[in-house]
Symmetry: C2
Subunit: 153 residues, 2 copies
DNA sequence: TGATAAATAGGAGTAGCTACTATATAGGTG
DNA sequence: CACCTATATAGTAGCTACTCCTATTTATCA
């Protein structure tokens, strides 16, 4: 085991939580046990979970939490910039607390969402016909297909 | 009125219908009045309609058609390549029979989907980590924000 | 240590599909 | 051209993923 890496990972986690708490305070949002638990569950997941998936995790520590609270809270996180809704159509909304520049590949069969990073996609230049006319809040490259597991029938 | 343009438009429409009929025959799909009416409604629309929107249009000529048939049929069109589902999350699936290279801007407030075309986006080169590992069936630039009507509060 | 505005739990309501089954029909066959 | 049959459709029931409502609880502040 690499103790250094473990420690850094733990530190990163602590830093993210602190950052999240500060962000809530800045925006005048109360730091509730529900919000903390939901944020921790989201940060600890790399599968871009749906509200339902987060709900199942969080019920471990907060057995009486409601699915509505999880849904509402995840949307609040997107509004304050602590997370975002992953692009892509069909099925349940999927969330991501990974704010580093990256892109997604979505498998249309198993619905897995896989992170990748290709620098040329980090800052896409839009034509003036769009940039000048509309207020663009998000732009990314959208990629879907079959993952390596689903290709083999 | 420009008669030449009208005539060309009419010809284009006829050609598209013929093309669609041929495509159905190639794939061994029956050319039913429902399929024709749904395809015509989709081709005549530039608003990237949902199944519900197509349903309302088609009921004019086929009053007993069911919403399920419209839904199923639009998905069939995507499978045979006569149309596709527009990328983007939230709300109802939106369909497009415009097969020319183009991209979309989606307004997150009024849900309008606006076509644009920027040649550099037509053939996005994916990194080998994606192209080599997965079977990519679709890739495009995803752009969302507020349209000019929704910006002004 | 209250007061209070914000947040949550629980449940009902809704949109958008999706599955099921009896009926109808497109398109090939004789 | 009438018949046959696999395919497609209509009508309906069921389901998933939210979204709204209201009474109750609680984080924060004075
Ligand atoms: Mn991600
Ligand atoms: Mn389009
Ligand atoms: Zn897969
Ligand atoms: Zn708009």
């Amino acid at each position: 085991m690499n103790h250094k890496k473990d420690k850094n990972t733990a530190d990163d986690f602590g830093a993210k939580i602190q950052c999240f708490v500060d962000l809530c305070r800045d925006r005048g949002l109360r730091v509730t046990p529900q919000r903390l638990a939901i944020y921790k569950a989201l940060v600890n997941s790399d599968e871009h979970p749906s509200a339902e998936m987060v709900y199942e995790k969080v019920r471990g520590s907060l057995p009486t939490i409601s699915l509505d609270t999880v849904n509402r809270t995840l949307l609040t996180f997107s509004e304050i910039g602590a997370a975002f809704v992953v692009e892509g159509s069909g099925g349940a909304r999927r969330f991501d607390a990974g704010l580093d520049n990256h892109q997604h590949f979505k498998c249309v069969k198993c619905n897995r969402i896989i992170d990748f990073h290709h620098e040329p996609f980090d800052d896409i230049e839009l034509p003036a016909s769009i940039d000048g006319r509309f207020t663009v809040s998000r732009k990314t490259v959208y990629v879907e297909g079959l993952c390596e597991l689903c290709q083999s029938h």
